[in-house]
Symmetry: C4
Subunit: 126 residues, 4 copies
């Protein structure tokens, strides 16, 4: 296993959307899931893009060496205080100082039961 990390330095997720409504015991949310398989901490700088306003840039998140982090975009304390509004389309760009792998998932409980979707982010060639 490479100790210098695996994956890419830049990842992009076009379809972000945190549903406004929730039902049942689980709240609708999204997570940016990151694996840092290297032996150095990964320092992420995250940008959030919107349809009708300027981006929120330079949101800092650290993923320790040999750890995963599932960063909830509906929880400001996962995002150094940044607030992503519910009910608004957004997109995400993740830049890291060591190679990582990024996946994005949504849990939607806005109608009865729940729905899930996920995809790997797009890895931008180095």
């Amino acid at each position: 296993m490479s100790n210098r990390g695996e994956g890419a330095f830049v990842w992009i997720i076009p379809d972000g959307y945190i549903p406004e409504e929730s039902t049942g015991s689980q709240r609708s949310h999204e997570a940016i899931c990151v694996l840092n398989s290297s032996d150095a901490d990964a320092h992420l700088s995250i940008t959030f893009y919107f349809e009708n306003r300027d981006p929120i840039k330079d949101v800092s998140v650290t993923v320790p060496a040999e750890r995963t982090r599932h960063v909830r975009t509906d929880l400001p304390d996962h995002l150094s205080g940044a607030e992503i509004p519910r009910g608004v389309p957004y997109a995400v760009r993740v830049e890291s100082d060591v190679p990582v792998v990024v996946q994005h998932s949504r849990m939607d409980t806005s109608q009865e039961a729940l729905a899930l979707m996920t995809t790997l982010a797009h890895a931008v060639a180095g």
Copy 2:
């Protein structure tokens, strides 16, 4: 961050399908989600392919610089007036004049509750 954009110029989505039925407060739909991280507007030309008829070509959509757009395929006013029928398999090809990233998602409320699915589109090598 590159100001000339990230991603690819051509993206393909084979599995398009807008369910005929909906339940609850949310209508079944699909969206082509695009991020333009460049500092220039992206002009998209979208082609819709079907099983038993000729393609609908050259549907124009603009994604402004540093913006995302979630293009609903069930709303003709998102597609310069083009109408995609419900209940029919289709596929999508997106061509852009600056590099973008494309993801495709479906919300299906045809039975109780709702279901979601998503995937990045396939990036055609330049």
Copy 3:
């Protein structure tokens, strides 16, 4: 647009599974969704792999020029008569004589409501 086709000649889908049960008006099923954006017909040869038996090889499917086809794996008449059993894990390999793009989706109605999942297949480098 290239008239010689876009995508790849070989695609692989590891997670195939047609649920045994269905509820409501829609039957649980999977589809191999193909776009042929070229101006020549694409002749596919599909292999189905299983956990405990030999593969089913050389299932023929044609996708006409500039058409999509959503091939249902639960319908033998979509597969030149091949029968894929329900309730059994399987995997799929698609080989084409012109470049195509392949996506795989499951609709599961085995419990109340329905669930969807999808992913692009893995494109094998030429």
Copy 4:
């Protein structure tokens, strides 16, 4: 078809999570789905990463030649006895001695009905 296998030697899945709750007749679970299209058995070494503890390394799984295996991460007997806790984020790295293709899927029955999500894993360049 190549007899030496198709795909990649290393695959990464950032978003693992086995829901604690289940409803109905189907238990919430995840599966690492692998296709080995080569004519030699594939010996996998799987690593599981967590947010707040050291990884579980060197979990051995064999996928016979021309077979698929859908490895349930909630079943220790699929993982040479390794136990992945429910209700905890994790990530997965799969390394193989022959090229394979890896996809990861979740079935969540924690609220009414069920939800599915899937994605191809990220293929690390050789």
